[in-house]
């Protein structure tokens, strides 16, 4: 056996542990879940092949589309509300004339240290009718209705506010890092050329932090479509009228509450296909934009 063949064999030998884990823990479950998507199950042991029935059911499943819509709204709010606020905070705390910058950075980032479960419990107490901090304060200050039902009628705004409190500071840190890498020479040159703050922001700062911004948009979208703990604890499930039901929560309910792993797998694959389609469309639009 020549030296080249021996080296090839050695390379495969080194790759084997990774490949074994990759196949056992990723490829096999993926293939299994695809197979499951064509079956109706009662737990993993009792199954019936149903062809495309699960996917046909999803197409007309009102609750799935409601969950998808809720998740999409949350994702949109994450990108359109959370990220601009995070950028605003970052720009404010990047100014050298702001005193106690380090302290405020820590304060704004600190919610990220406690996690979603804590935030959900905390906001559950804040949004309570009559006894919640928010309603009690608003009632005392402005005569606001103490029975205002945040968690019954305004479920999505409540979720968005809770997530905003948690993630605005977290995303702020990324923007801060990006802002500190914006070329001072370029900013000064723009100032000398007569550019005001808005034009400096639009034509110097924003292009410089664009890669980080794109990364955060992607991170927010992925995080939004994985949303589970926050509504699960804050609302004890999908909430009244399923206003807080997310796709992952619906998948969990189908698979682990109802025991139909087949339907849950079909939901998982449907979400993957839809998100894949969005990702391709987004890349296409970005490519057009760059051209």
């Amino acid at each position: 056996m020549n030296h080249h063949a021996a080296q090839s064999r050695a390379a495969y030998l080194f790759l084997t542990p990774f490949l074994a884990l990759f196949v056992v823990f990723l490829i096999y479950p993926l293939v299994q879940s695809l197979w499951l998507a064509f079956q109706q199950t009662h737990g993993p042991s009792i199954t019936r092949y149903v062809g495309l029935d699960n996917f046909k059911s999803i197409a007309v499943d009102r609750l799935f589309w409601k969950a998808f819509w809720n998740t999409a709204v949350f994702a949109l709010a994450s990108v359109c509300i959370q990220l601009p606020i995070a950028l605003g905070l970052a720009m404010l705390l990047n100014r050298p004339d702001v005193r106690g910058r380090a302290f405020f950075r820590l304060i704004f980032f600190s919610p990220a240290l406690v996690g979603l479960v804590f935030v959900a419990v905390l906001f559950g107490l804040i949004f309570e009718k009559r006894t919640g901090l928010l309603n009690v304060t608003l009632h005392a200050v402005a005569g606001f209705d103490p029975e205002f039902p945040w968690l019954q009628q305004y479920v999505m705004p409540a979720l968005i506010i809770a997530a905003l409190w948690l993630y605005a500071g977290f995303n702020m840190v990324f923007f801060l890092a990006a802002l500190q890498n914006v070329s001072r020479d370029l900013l000064e040159a723009a100032t000398v050329d007569g550019a005001g703050p808005l034009r400096r922001f639009l034509h110097v700062t924003l292009p410089a932090i664009r890669p980080v911004g794109s990364f955060l948009v992607l991170l927010s979208l992925i995080g939004s479509f994985q949303l589970f703990e926050l509504p699960y604890i804050l609302l004890g499930g999908g909430g009244p009228d399923n206003q807080g039901l997310t796709v992952v929560m619906y998948l969990y309910q189908a698979g682990f509450d109802a025991g139909d792993l087949g339907y849950a797998s079909a939901i998982g694959w449907t979400i993957a296909i839809l998100l894949g389609g969005f990702a391709v469309a987004q890349r296409y639009v970005s490519a057009l934009d760059e051209r």
């Binding site: 309570e128 009632h139 029975e147 682990f256």
Partner: protein, 464 residues
């Protein structure tokens, strides 16, 4: 061929440290594989209620000392028990020999094909040993699927109306004379009061909200409605459900509102109860001990009375909650498990302890005349609460456990919320005018339940 030894010598990634770690891993795996499995000592029993656990442990200790059954009781959280149970039934992970199952878990346990239910069918044993007739018959209903019984009932759980006697007396209302919900609503409207002068009521006669689904279901059952009939056919869109929900909506909103939201099992709800935000609450027997423990400040201020009926002379109670003991099919000794289940659920001393600790009355009818049910209870101003609940026990409505219970309840929840929203948006607060809307919403909800039933091949296979 390149040998392993050469790799080790040539500073390759497979260092001696990696070899040692791999060796330890293999050795420990081999040790685990060949280690003898510990022999189980008697039966294991999972419970979710601390009170039950505290009752069963001394019994298990007494049996052990006397050389009788060997029972290992484990307390699992109410969230963990169904997860473990379902994982055990679906994936064959470790399961106890006996389990107590709460009614909210039933839809998960009873889903799938009937022979896929992970509990032993007790129907033939119950009839052969004459046990079926010894229990309050409706108590079997939640644990019965397609005519087969999968558990021994633990309770009856009638519902009474609990009221703040101090507040009612202060208002000069003779609440015990209010025998229908219509008279209750009319007379108790006087208790909707603004205490702090901000123009908003701070007290409501009844604790109820559109999200209190258990109480709303109890009210539907009292009225003769419900989610499924005895054959498991959805009855969500029945006329009685529509009429009842339309009436309840007028309690929740509008000028005739009589209900305030003081949720059970929460600090905020307890605070509101202490402040007198709500005057009356629906109270199942098990809830009496929860209040006694969580709200000791209300001792002597509370009284119980039968629920007002939906119609003159109608049913004065309902049902809320329920537990059973079941024997998983995986138990190696079903006969011993059955013997233990019977001893626990038929025992008179345990029934007495259950009442004295938890306020729960036994479903064993032969025990209903026992004197300890007539003991006065200071928390309820010396009322003989056991007797009050027992008087209503024969009238407790029958409810059915369906694999689609959760879906039907979610549908009911949607209807209640949408109906209330409709009333507020249109300004229609008349029950008669709301009834057609309720019917329409219920029909849509029932259609969704039927859609789920139709796509379930296992349930289709159950039907003859």
């Amino acid at each position: 061929m390149i040998r392993l030894r050469q790799y080790l010598r040539s500073g390759s990634p497979i260092s001696p440290g990696v070899v040692v770690i791999a060796g330890l891993m293999l050795a420990s795996a081999a040790w685990v594989a060949v280690r003898p499995v510990a022999q189980r000592d008697g039966l294991s029993f999972w419970v979710f209620a601390r009170t039950h656990y505290q009752m069963y442990v001394p019994v298990a200790d007494r049996w052990r000392e006397a050389g009788g059954h060997r029972l290992d009781v484990a307390l699992l959280s109410a969230d963990a028990l169904p997860r473990r149970l379902i994982a055990s039934m679906h994936a064959g992970t470790h399961m106890a020999d006996l389990v107590e199952i709460e009614r909210s878990m039933a839809s998960q346990v009873f889903s799938g094909p009937i022979d896929g239910i992970g509990l032993i069918d007790l129907t033939d044993r119950l009839h052969a040993e004459g046990l079926y007739d010894r229990f309050n018959e409706p108590s079997f209903a939640p644990w019965t699927v397609s005519g087969r019984v999968f558990g021994l009932p633990h309770d009856v759980h009638p519902v009474l109306l609990c009221y703040r006697a101090d507040l009612v007396e202060e208002a000069g209302i003779d609440i015990t004379s209010l025998t229908t919900w219509a008279s209750f609503k009319e007379a108790m409207r006087a208790m909707v009061v603004d205490l702090d002068g901000d123009g908003r009521p701070d007290r409501y006669p009844l604790s109820l909200s559109e999200t209190h689904l258990d109480q709303i279901e109890a009210l539907l059952l009292q009225a003769g409605g419900g989610l499924f009939d005895i054959d498991g056919v959805p009855t969500l869109a029945s006329d009685v459900n529509a009429a009842t929900l339309a009436e309840i909506t007028t309690w929740l909103t509008g000028p005739g509102r009589i209900a305030g939201d003081a949720p059970e099992f929460s600090a905020s709800g307890n605070r509101l109860r202490l402040e007198g935000y709500v005057v009356c609450s629906l109270m199942s027997d098990w809830l009496t001990s929860v209040w006694e423990s969580d709200l000791p400040q209300l001792e002597g201020k509370l009284r119980l009375m039968p629920l007002p009926a939906w119609e003159p002379g109608g049913r004065r109670t309902s049902v809320w909650g329920g537990t059973m003991i079941g024997i998983p099919k995986t138990t190696p000794d079903p006969e011993q498990a059955w013997a233990v289940a019977k001893e626990l659920y038929l025992s008179e001393p345990l029934a007495r302890e259950l009442y004295e600790r938890a306020g729960i009355i036994s479903p064993v009818r032969a025990l209903w005349d026992r004197g300890w049910y007539a003991a006065p209870r200071a928390y309820f101003g010396g009322q003989r609460t056991g007797r009050l609940y027992l008087e209503q026990a024969p009238d407790v409505p029958r409810r059915v456990s369906s694999p689609f219970d959760t879906i039907a309840k979610a549908g009911l929840q949607d209807v209640v919320i949408q109906l209330k929203r409709h009333a507020e948006e249109t300004g229609v607060y008349d029950a008669a005018a709301l009834q057609p809307v309720a019917k329409q919403l219920l029909e849509a909800a029932e259609a969704r339940v039927r859609w789920h039933m139709n796509r379930n091949v296992f349930v289709r296979e159950r039907s003859p």
